[in-house]
C-alpha cells in the first residue's frame, strides 16, 4: 500500500511539473512580457534594462526553475492588466467559484441520484422514459444556452432572481461567502442550476447503469427471494452499492466543474476565478493565465490522486493495475 501511495504521489508530482512547464512556456514565449509591461513612450534602453531586471536573458532551465520555485511559494508575479499580485487576485476570487461548484454538485446529487434510481427501477415506465429523454436533452444543451434561457425566464420575465453577480457577501477571514445572506443565496440559484445541468445527467446515467447491473446481481435476487420488500431492496441495498462510483465521479468531476464554471461565470457575470481567467485571455494577461492553469490542474490532480488512493484502499486488487484509464 505504501509503495502504491508513493507511486501515485510521484506520478502526480511529475504531472504537475509537466503542467508547470506548459504554463511556463505560455508565460515566457507567447507575447513578449516586456512589450506588455512598458508604456508607449519607453525607450529601447528602458526595454533592455527591464529585460535584464526580469531575468529574461537567463538560460531556459534557470528561468524554469525560478518559475517553479516561485509558483510553489504562490508567487505568480503581477497581473499586466490589474497591476496586482496574481495570487491575491485568485485568492479573492476562489470562494465565489468554490461556492458555485459546491452548490452545483449538491444539486447534481440531490436530483441525479433519485432520477437515476427511478429510471433503473421502473424501466420503460412513462416517468422513466421522460427522465431519460430529459437526461439526453440535458447533455445536449450547451450550458451557456441554459444560462441565457434561465436569465430570460426568471430574471427578465418573472423578476424572481438576480441576473448577475453574487449579491451581498459576508467576509469570514479572507473567505467571502454569499451563503449567509438572502441576496447571496438568491444570486447563487440560477448559476448553480445552469452549471449543474450536465452534471445532473451524468450522475443520473451512472446511477442508472450501476443500478441495472446491481439489480441483476445474485445477492439482490437472493434478498428478493427471501422476501425482503422490493422497494427496500432497491432503495437500500442496491443503491448503497452504487454510491461508491457516484462519489468517485463527483470527486473527479469537481475539477471539471471548476473549469467549466468559467462559462457559467461569463454568462452570469459571476466574480469568480473563471471570469478572471476569461478576462485574462481576452487581454492576454499571461501571469493570470499561467497561474489559473496551474491552480486548476493542481486541484484536478490532487482530487484524482485522492480518488485513486481511496479506491486502492477499498479494493486492494487495483493497486497493481497501472493500465486503468479514467478518461
Amino acid at each position: 500500500m505504501i509503495a502504491f501511495l508513493l507511486k501515485r504521489t510521484a506520478n502526480a508530482a511529475f504531472v504537475m511539473l509537466a503542467v508547470a512547464l506548459l504554463a511556463f512556456v505560455i508565460f515566457r514565449f507567447f507575447g513578449d512580457p516586456v512589450e506588455m509591461m512598458v508604456n508607449e513612450q519607453a525607450t529601447l534602453q528602458d526595454r533592455i534594462e527591464l529585460r535584464e531586471r526580469l531575468g529574461l536573458n537567463d538560460g531556459f532551465v534557470t528561468q524554469y526553475t525560478r518559475f517553479v520555485t516561485n509558483a510553489v511559494q504562490g508567487d505568480f508575479g503581477v497581473s499586466y492588466r490589474n497591476q496586482q499580485d496574481v495570487m491575491v487576485l485568485i485568492k479573492e476570487r476562489f470562494p465565489a467559484t468554490f461556492e458555485l461548484v459546491l452548490v452545483a454538485t449538491v444539486i447534481s446529487l440531490v436530483v441525479g441520484i433519485p432520477a437515476g434510481v427511478i429510471t433503473a427501477v421502473y424501466r420503460d415506465s412513462r416517468l422513466a422514459n421522460a427522465l431519460q429523454l430529459g437526461s439526453i436533452i440535458g447533455v445536449s444543451l450547451p450550458s451557456f444556452v441554459v444560462g441565457i434561457l434561465l436569465i430570460l425566464a426568471f430574471s427578465v420575465s418573472l423578476g424572481w432572481l438576480p441576473a448577475f453577480g453574487r449579491g451581498a457577501t459576508v467576509d469570514i477571514g479572507w473567505w467571502s461567502t454569499g451563503l449567509l445572506t438572502p441576496s447571496g443565496r438568491a444570486a447563487l440559484v440560477l448559476p448553480a442550476i445552469s452549471l449543474s445541468t450536465f452534471q445532473v445527467t451524468l450522475v443520473m446515467r451512472l446511477v442508472r447503469a450501476e443500478m441495472l447491473e446491481t439489480l441483476r446481481a445474485d445477492y439482490i435476487k437472493f434478498a428478493r427471494a427471501r422476501g425482503v420488500p422490493t422497494r427496500r431492496v432497491q432503495w437500500r441495498h442496491a443503491l448503497r452499492n452504487c454510491l461508491m462510483p457516484v462519489i468517485t465521479l463527483t470527486g473527479m468531476q469537481i475539477g471539471n466543474l471548476i473549469a467549466f464554471a468559467l462559462v457559467t461565470e461569463t454568462v452570469f457575470q459571476w466574480p469568480g476565478m473563471g471570469m478572471l481567467f476569461i478576462q485574462a485571455v481576452t487581454f492576454v494577461d499571461l501571469p493570470v493565465m499561467a497561474a489559473y492553469l496551474l491552480i486548476v490542474s493542481l486541484i484536478f490532480v490532487v482530487l484524482n490522486t485522492l480518488v485513486d488512493i481511496t479506491y486502492a484502499w477499498v479494493d486492494p486488487r487495483l493497486r497493481d493495475d497501472s493500465a486503468r484509464g479514467n478518461g
Binding site: N11, A18, V19, V139, P142, V145, G255, V263, A323
Partner: protein
C-alpha cells in the same frame, strides 16, 4: 470477441456482401426497432444536407461582406409583422439573413466537430497501437503525455490553445486559420481516451499466439496492428467517437461563445449566439433563438444516435 475476427478481416468479403451483412446485422434490426434512433438519424441527415447545400439553397452568402446590406438589418421573421421575403428567419443588425447564417454556421460547426474527432481518432489510434504493441519507453512517453493532458480540464486546454494561437498570429492568418486551430484545440485533449482503449487491447493481443506467430514469420508490425488488433477494439471506439462528436460540437460552440473561436465575419453557431446575446432584451430575439435551437438539435440528434449505439453494442444491456 475473438471469433469475430474472421468476419472483419478484409481477406474474405467483397463490398456488396458487406452491405448485406449490415442489413442482416443485429445493429440494423436494433436501429429499426428504435424510433428515437431513426428520428435522430433523419434529423441529423436533414441538418447535414441543408448545411452542406447551403451555398446553393440560401438567399445570401453571410460571409461575403459586400453582400450585406445595412438597409435590410433587423427584419423580423417572415411570420411577424414587418417580416420580408426572402429573410424567412429575419436578419441580424448587419442585414445578415439568419437562415443563411444558421445553415453556414451549422456547416462550420459540423465540419469542425467531425474533423476534430477524426484527427483525435487518427492520433489516438496510432499512438495507442504503437504504445500497446511495442511497450517499453515508447509506451511510457505516450502514456505520460496522455496523463498530463488528462490532468487538465478539457475546456481549459482548448481555450489555451485557441487563445495563444490567436494572440500570436497576425490578423490576416488568424481569419484563415480560425477553423484549423479550433480543430486542433478540440482534438488535442481528446485523443488520449482512444489511445488508452486501443493500447489496452493491443497489449492483450500482442501476447496472443497468432501475433507471436505472425512476428516469427516476419509480418510487418503495422500489418499486425491494422489487421488484427485494431478491429478488436473498434466497437467501444465507435461509441466513444459518436458521443465525442456531440461533445466536440458543443466545445466549438462554447469556445466561440466565449469569444475565442470563430470570428464574427465567419460565424459558427456559437459565434451567432454570442452576438445575438447582446440583443436579448432589444426585442431582436430571433438573432439568438434560431442558432440556439439549431445547435441544440444537432447535438441532441448526435447524442441520441450515440446513446442508441452504446446500448445496442453493449451485450449486457440487451
Amino acid at each position: 470477441m475473438d471469433n469475430t475476427i474472421p468476419q472483419t478481416t478484409p481477406a474474405a468479403p467483397k463490398r456488396p456482401s458487406r452491405l448485406t451483412l449490415l442489413r442482416d446485422s443485429d445493429l440494423w434490426h436494433s436501429f429499426r426497432a428504435h424510433p428515437s434512433a431513426i428520428f435522430a438519424a433523419a434529423l441529423l441527415a436533414l441538418v447535414a444536407l441543408t448545411a452542406f447545400l447551403a451555398p446553393w439553397i440560401t438567399p445570401q452568402n453571410p460571409y461575403d461582406l459586400a453582400a450585406l446590406e445595412l438597409w435590410n438589418s433587423e427584419i423580423p421573421p417572415i411570420w411577424e409583422a414587418g417580416g420580408q421575403w426572402p429573410f424567412v428567419l429575419g436578419t441580424d443588425t448587419q442585414g445578415r439573413d439568419i437562415l443563411s447564417a444558421v445553415l453556414y454556421g451549422s456547416r462550420i460547426s459540423l465540419i469542425i466537430g467531425f474533423a476534430s474527432v477524426l484527427l483525435a481518432l487518427a492520433v489516438g489510434l496510432a499512438l495507442g497501437l504503437v504504445a500497446g504493441y511495442f511497450g517499453g519507453w515508447i509506451d511510457n512517453v505516450i502514456m505520460r503525455v496522455g496523463d498530463v493532458l488528462l490532468s487538465m480540464p478539457f475546456i481549459l486546454i482548448a481555450i489555451l490553445i485557441t487563445a495563444i494561437a490567436s494572440a500570436s498570429l497576425p490578423t490576416g492568418l488568424k481569419d484563415v486559420l480560425a477553423a484549423p486551430i479550433l480543430i486542433v484545440a478540440i482534438a488535442v485533449p481528446s485523443w488520449v481516451q482512444y489511445a488508452r482503449t486501443v493500447r489496452a487491447s493491443a497489449m492483450v493481443e500482442a501476447k496472443k499466439e497468432y501475433v507471436q506467430a505472425a512476428k516469427l514469420i516476419r509480418v510487418k508490425p503495422w500489418r499486425i496492428m491494422l489487421h488484427h488488433i485494431l478491429p478488436n477494439c473498434l466497437t467501444p471506439i465507435l461509441v466513444a467517437a459518436t458521443l465525442n462528436f456531440g461533445l466536440a460540437i458543443l466545445s466549438e460552440a462554447t469556445l466561440s461563445f466565449l469569444g475565442v473561436g470563430m470570428p464574427p465575419d465567419q460565424p459558427s453557431l456559437g459565434t451567432l449566439i454570442r452576438i445575438g446575446n447582446q440583443y436579448l432584451f432589444s426585442g431582436l430575439w430571433w438573432i439568438v433563438v434560431f442558432p440556439s435551437i439549431q445547435l441544440c438539435l444537432i447535438v441532441l440528434s448526435v447524442n441520441m444516435i450515440g446513446d442508441w449505439l452504446r446500448d445496442a453494442l453493449n451485450p449486457k444491456l440487451r
